[in-house]
C-alpha cells in the first residue's frame, strides 16, 4: 500500500509548494479549517499564492495569517466580513479579490474535480458577478457560465482518516472540505485521528481515499467566532 501518512504538516507539504501556485482550502469561517497546514505554508515562505477559500479566516487565525505575511496575491472568496486586514488589503489594492457567490464557489470546486470545465447557473445574473461571463438562455431564463476550478494543491481538514486515506468529517466542519479535496492536483488532509483500516463503515465515507494523496494527524485549536448560548 502506498504510504500516505506523514509525521507532521511540514513534511506533508514537502515538494508541493511553489511561488505563484493555486491552493484550494476547505473550511467555513474558522470551522473545519486546516490549521496545521496553513501554519506550515506560512512557515515555508511560499508567496504569490492564489487561494480558493470561502473565507480568509480572521486577522490572526486561519488563512488570515497568510494575508498578514502577504503571501497571498489573490483570494477567490464569497465573504470577507470578519477579517479587517483582508478588507484593508483589498480596499487599498494590495490584494486581488475575486468575489464568488458561496454556492458558485462550492460548485466550481466540485466541477473542477469532476472533469466539468464549465456549468450554467442563475446565481449572479444581473449583478457584478455576471460581468465578463458568458450568458445563455435555457427555457426562457438567463444563466451565466462559471468555470470549474482545478488547484495545484488542496488542503483540507477532516475528523478521521483510516490508514488508506478515507475521510470522515464532523457536523458543519464538513463544508467545503470534500469539494476542495476533489479539485486539487494533489490533496493533503490533516485529521484529528487516524483509525485502523476497516474501522470506518464503507457506506459512510465522506471523501474516498482516491482524493487523498497525503494525510497527517494534527492538533486543532478549533477557535470559535461567535460563541452564542441560551440559558440551560
Amino acid at each position: 500500500m502506498a504510504q500516505k501518512n506523514y509525521s507532521d504538516a511540514n513534511s506533508a507539504l514537502e515538494g508541493l509548494l511553489f511561488d505563484g501556485m493555486t491552493i484550494a482550502a476547505g473550511g467555513f469561517g474558522l470551522c473545519g479549517i486546516p490549521e496545521n497546514l496553513i501554519a506550515a505554508i506560512r512557515d515555508s515562505g511560499v508567496k504569490d499564492l492564489t487561494v480558493y477559500s470561502n473565507n480568509a479566516g480572521v486577522d490572526e487565525f486561519g488563512l488570515g495569517v497568510l494575508l498578514q505575511t502577504k503571501q497571498v496575491k489573490k483570494m477567490v472568496s464569497s465573504y470577507v466580513g470578519e477579517n479587517a486586514e483582508f478588507m484593508r488589503q483589498y480596499l487599498s489594492g494590495e490584494l486581488e479579490l475575486e468575489f464568488n457567490p458561496q454556492g458558485t464557489l462550492a460548485e466550481r470546486m466540485r466541477a473542477g474535480g469532476a472533469g466539468i470545465p464549465g456549468f450554467y447557473t442563475k446565481t449572479g445574473v444581473g449583478t457584478l458577478v455576471a460581468e465578463g461571463k458568458e450568458e445563455k438562455d435555457f427555457d426562457g431564463e438567463t444563466y451565466i457560465m462559471e468555470r470549474g476550478i482545478v488547484a495545484d494543491l488542496a488542503i483540507v481538514k477532516a475528523w478521521k482518516s483510516d490508514e488508506h486515506g478515507n475521510l470522515l468529517y464532523r457536523k458543519t466542519a464538513r463544508n467545503f472540505n470534500p469539494l476542495a479535496a476533489t479539485c486539487g492536483k494533489v490533496t493533503v488532509a490533516e485529521v484529528e485521528e487516524i483509525v485502523p483500516l476497516g474501522s470506518l463503515n464503507p457506506d459512510n465515507i465522506h471523501t474516498p481515499s482516491i482524493y487523498v494523496q497525503r494525510f497527517v494527524q494534527g492538533e486543532h485549536e478549533k477557535r470559535i467566532e461567535q460563541r452564542t448560548i441560551r440559558e440551560a
Partner: protein, 209 residues
C-alpha cells in the same frame, strides 16, 4: 407605532408554512425562529451544510464543529442531516427551499435586492445571498424602512451593486408589509398606528393599492 426588530421577526414568522424547508439569513431573520407559530413545523437550513438547525447551545453543549452560516454556535435536532457546501447549494439553487428570509440594504420596486457591498466603503461579500435569492422559491426581506441617515431603503431602482435582479417577493419593514407587484409595491398591511402618509413620505418606490 413602527415595529421593533422582534415584532418584524414575529410578523415574518407568519410567512412560514407547515412542513416546509426554510433558510433564515443573518441578523433579524435569525430572530424569526423564536416566533414560529404553534402547529407549524419547519425545518431550517443553514447554508454551511445543515438541515434541521436547532437552538443556540447551552454552555455545556457548545461545539466548535457546529455553527450556522452566521458562524454562531448552534445545536442539532433529531431530524438533522449534515452535507457539504456543494450539496447545500444544490438544494438552494435547485429550488428545494420554499422560503428564504433575508436582510437588505436596498430593495427596488421591481424586486431588485442589494445587500452585499457599498463600493469603496464596506465590502462584506455576498456569501450565500446571491445563491439564495436566485434559487429559493420565495424571498422575503426584513429590514428597517429607512437607513441610519433616515433615507428610504425602498427605491424605484437600487443604487448599490445588486445581489439579485427581480428576486424579492415581499418586504417586511418596521412600517408594514409590502409585496412586489405589477407596477410597484403593494401595501399588504401596516404596523399599528402607521399611516399611509408616513409610508409615502418614507418610500421612494411607487406604491400601488
Amino acid at each position: 407605532m413602527p415595529w421593533d426588530r422582534n415584532q418584524m421577526a414575529a410578523r415574518a414568522a407568519q410567512e412560514l408554512e407547515d412542513g416546509t424547508y426554510v433558510n433564515l439569513g443573518i441578523g433579524i431573520p435569525t430572530l424569526v425562529s423564536n416566533y414560529i407559530p404553534e402547529g407549524v413545523d419547519v425545518t431550517l437550513q443553514s447554508e454551511n451544510g445543515m438541515l434541521g438547525m436547532g437552538p443556540f447551545p447551552t454552555e455545556d453543549e457548545i461545539d466548535a464543529d457546529l455553527i450556522n452560516a452566521g458562524k454562531q454556535t448552534i445545536t442539532e435536532l433529531d431530524r438533522t442531516s449534515y452535507f457539504n457546501s456543494a450539496d447545500s447549494f444544490a438544494m438552494i439553487r435547485g429550488g428545494h427551499i420554499a422560503l428564504s428570509i433575508l436582510g437588505a440594504m436596498e430593495v427596488s420596486e421591481t424586486g431588485d435586492l442589494a445587500n452585499w457591498m457599498i463600493p469603496g466603503r464596506l465590502v462584506k461579500g455576498m456569501g450565500g445571498a446571491m445563491d439564495l435569492v436566485a434559487g429559493v422559491k420565495r424571498v422575503v426581506i426584513i429590514m428597517d424602512h429607512t437607513n441610519k441617515a433616515g433615507e428610504t431603503k425602498l427605491l424605484k431602482a437600487c443604487t448599490l451593486p445588486l445581489t439579485g435582479k427581480a428576486v424579492v417577493d415581499r418586504v417586511i419593514s418596521n412600517l408594514g408589509v409590502f409585496d412586489i407587484a405589477e407596477g410597484g409595491l403593494k401595501v399588504v398591511e401596516l404596523a399599528d398606528g402607521v399611516t399611509m402618509d408616513e409610508v409615502r413620505e418614507k418610500t421612494d418606490a411607487t406604491l400601488v393599492e
